[in-house]
């Protein structure tokens, strides 16, 4: 059984704009997929729809997680089944510390641990991501730089250990050093877990550090090409235009 199986998914935004138009997509456990595509092709919409954002309405199709349709579940129920979305634009929560938040999240996921063990785990992950320990007592994303926000997303990934990780442009807005750190965090997670990882990105550069097994190109609301990393090279040479114009008319 596939970890994630999306069949003929149609999704509208809250202002009734049709974004996904019959998308099919599968991810097995232990696989890293790259999902690429031009601006506005529906990459983030796909991530939000799978995570259950209330502003996106599924009008047709199904999203199966380990064979179970999750479309009727609330976001937190999907999270407890193993779905994780690393946000492109993480939200600030004033007055709530990273530490408090992570403990609550673990508790909500049924994985509450002793404070001592929690601290130990966190300390190791902070070191891996080259984050100062003072980070834990700061308020979530409040006054964070772009790089800090993305690192916090990867820290959550490493600690919450989901089954399916949707990484929405985790590479955007990072300088090369930060990119390497974030990428190695994702890479380590992919290797240490049996999770399925979907890297949503515009650019090839993340894929130099995290090697996907499959590469897909999303255009005009559906996947128009799938392959391996050679597809990325082709994309770098020829641009998206070729794939967009090649897209077959919707059925």
């Amino acid at each position: 059984m596939d970890l994630l199986e999306i069949n003929n998914l149609w999704v509208n935004t809250h202002d009734n704009k049709e974004i996904l138009k019959g998308l099919n997509f599968k991810v097995n456990k232990g696989e890293v997929h790259a999902l690429m595509g031009p601006n506005g092709s529906g990459k983030s919409t796909l991530a939000f729809a799978v995570a259950g954002h209330p502003k996106y309405t599924v009008t047709k199709g199904e999203v199966l997680l380990n064979g179970e349709n999750i479309l009727n579940l609330k976001p937190h129920q999907r999270a407890s089944k193993g779905v994780f979305l690393a946000f492109q634009y993480p939200v600030a929560i004033p007055g709530v510390t990273v530490s408090n938040f992570l403990r609550h999240a673990l508790k909500a996921l049924g994985r509450e641990s002793e404070l001592k063990d929690f601290r130990k785990t966190v300390k190791a992950k902070l070191a891996e991501l080259k984050i100062d320990e003072s980070f834990m007592s700061r308020n979530i994303n409040e006054g964070f730089s772009g790089g800090e926000k993305k690192r916090l997303e990867v820290l959550q990934l490493a600690i919450l250990k989901p089954k399916l990780a949707l990484m929405d442009e985790t590479d955007s807005g990072l300088d090369i050093d930060a990119l390497k750190i974030v990428a190695s965090g994702i890479e380590r997670f992919a290797q240490e877990s049996e999770a399925g990882v979907v890297l949503i990105t515009h650019y090839q550069r993340l894929l130099n550090f995290v090697k996907p097994r499959f590469v897909h190109i999303l255009a005009e609301g559906k996947i128009v090409a799938s392959g391996d990393t050679r597809l990325v090279e082709q994309l770098e040479r020829e641009g998206y235009e070729k794939f967009v114009t090649k897209a077959p008319t919707p059925a």
Binding site: K55, A79, V91, I93, G95, F101, H104, A105, L160
Partner: protein, 473 residues
Amino acid sequence: MAKEKAAIGDIGNEYQEKYGFSVDHDYVHTIKKGLSKKVVEEISHIKEEPEWMLKIRLEALEIFLKKPMPTWTDTELLSSINFDDIHYYLRPSDRTESSWDDVPQDIKKTFDRLGIPEAEKKFLAGVTTQFDSEAVYHSIQETLTKKGVIFLDMDSGLKQYPDLVRQYFTTVIPSADNKFAALNTAVWSGGSFIYVPKGVKVDLPLQAYFRINAKNAGQFERTLIITDEGADVHYIEGCTAPSFTTNSLHSAVVELIALPGSTIRYTTIQNWSKNVFNLVTKRAVAHAGATVRWIDANIGSKLTVKFPCVYLVGPKAHGEILSVAFAGSGQHQDAGGKIYHAAPDTTSTITSKSVSKDGGRSSYRGLLKVYKGAKTAKSAVRCDALLLDPESRSDTYPTMEVEERTASIAHEATVSKIGEEQLFYLMSRGLSEKDAMTMVVNGFMEPFIKTLPLEYAVEMNRLIELEMEGAVG
């Protein structure tokens, strides 16, 4: 969702179980409902007061009867108070005990259930507990008594230190200040009397707990705190009441006098049941170099009208008001603060945080006044309101009167709706909608919660969680 639905039904029960109960107490003295000259004389007589106090009471009664009801606050709710349907005096026992074992059994049980004796053992320097009109228990650490610290219920204060009381009583809040200050002055009973001598710093908080038990009760405590030069004290008050279908009235007057270089911190966690009118006047005078901090949290009551105030009368005096309001279904929290800069180099901050939900209403009313000659006075006012649903309401009425050109004033106000993006972010990490909302609200309240001693911070977080039960449909 089924679990969350159940929580909605539980909310009243939770208050009911934890605080909303009442005991069938046999009062030693009950004055029948209604207010008259005779009632005032009877209260004064029972208390064996000096003549001058009775005179003040009777004058205040005249003022109360003459003054019209205020028209600027929630007149609709105010007009539903029936002054004839209230007990102005309910004496639970004849003595204020200094050992819990001597407190009448049913009253002791009440305070046991509220966790007061336990808190006292753990982290308080002194405790007074009031049951309807009178204090029933009182204690203070011996080391403080030796240093000359006076901490008594107000009636004992008047008996033992009549000159000190007479010197300051009604000097900060005259009887004619407002209708409800007049009412309190006429029928006051209980409250705290504190004097901290020169240079004495009280390390642990002194606490008062006010409990309304009877139906149609009026509670009119009167508190007077004086810190002498360089002294320092933290006073904390809490309050709860049974959930009755009829209304109760709580109308207190609190006067603080911070003499030069002294510090008073006054923390209130108001958690009356939702049938209590809470109409309170609180004001402080801060002399040169003194600091007064009001930390005023309003969670309960039907209608609260309360604006803690600081008069900065000496150079370099400092005033802080942190007003926190939580308005749920059927509640109106009309809160805020007032600061008067009447001397040079005085500084102040007013911070207001309100959360409204389930059709609740919160108002911020603030006054900042800088008199001419209060050179280089500085003040920062900030009020933030958080609305949890479209049915709820928040209003802001800030007033600034600045007569001094060298003063610098900053003002900032925000009203935000709880963010869908914030909720989704937290929910995508596994938190239920209710937990996510509670987390956002707790975060919003964090600047207030961190001012509390740890034990109260924990209690406060718990109260917010309790309030958030049923916030999600």
